[in-house]
Amino acid sequence: MQKRWSSLALLLCCSLIASGCTIGRWYVGSPVRDDPATLIAVGETRKADVLAHFGPPDRILRQREGDIFLYRYEQRNSSELDISEPIRGFTLFRWDKVQDKSDRLMVFFDPAGIVSAFGYRHGRAELEPL
């Protein structure tokens, strides 16, 4: 009887060993330093002010109508649960969830270097914990 229980426990342990949960976090870039809505005024704010407040952009798009600055801070949350059959490695159950969100600020300038428009999205606020 005891031997049977031991075998059962061993089998259960082997099954659990073949299972696993992985949580990952990726952060790329730098957070947008300040609230753009309070610092940028369309038709007034100059390119130098934007650079002073928000630092160098992650991307500069050059256009005839003026430059575009793009600031981006990306975060990826990934969660994975995998339960496999221990002998052959056959997957019995797998659950994956990947959330890719970013805070993005895009600032448009006119040819004189004055902000003509801007857009901001605090995408990381939409991330769920798991």
């Binding site: 031991s6 061993l10 060993i17 299972s19 949960c21």
Partner: protein, 139 residues
């Protein structure tokens, strides 16, 4: 029998544990003291190149203007730098850390950079610049 099984499982559990830490650096350092010395309207492109060396990237608006103005795509200039009005100096740092347990793994990856972007006017003097040093936090 139970004791042996427990010991075997304990040993297997210990062997299955681990952690990792990986650090990656790409690019050249951007000296902060030199950045503080940049004065818009005063500092020249020659000084910027002398202080920070060859940039990681640049743009050439003169070529862009030619394309837009003439509607003709001219061959690229062999020597770009004298016409560049934006220079980019950058150091990128990456850090990955994690723990590997028996049933649970966790990892955390962060990538940040020190970056200096300098704009020049027609007289080759600094028009404005932006700087950040977020890679330092990953050291």
């Amino acid at each position: 029998m139970t004791r042996t099984l427990g010991l075997a499982l304990g040993l297997a559990a210990c062997l299955s544990l681990g952690c990792f830490s990986i650090r990656v650096v790409s690019g050249n350092s951007v000296p902060a003291d030199r950045v503080a010395a940049i004065e818009p309207g005063v500092t020249t492109r020659v000084e910027i190149l002398e202080w920070f060396g060859a940039p990681e990237d640049f743009t050439d608006p003169s070529g862009l203007r030619r394309v837009f103005a003439d509607g003709v795509l001219l061959p690229e200039d062999v020597l770009h730098l004298p016409y560049a009005d934006v220079l980019v100096f950058e150091l990128t740092r990456g850090r990955a850390r994690g723990v590997l347990l028996l049933f649970f793994n966790y990892f955390d990856v962060r990538v940040a950079n020190d970056r200096l972007v300098v704009f020049f006017d027609d007289q080759d003097r600094v028009l404005y610049y932006g700087y950040r040093n977020d890679a330092e936090a990953l050291e």
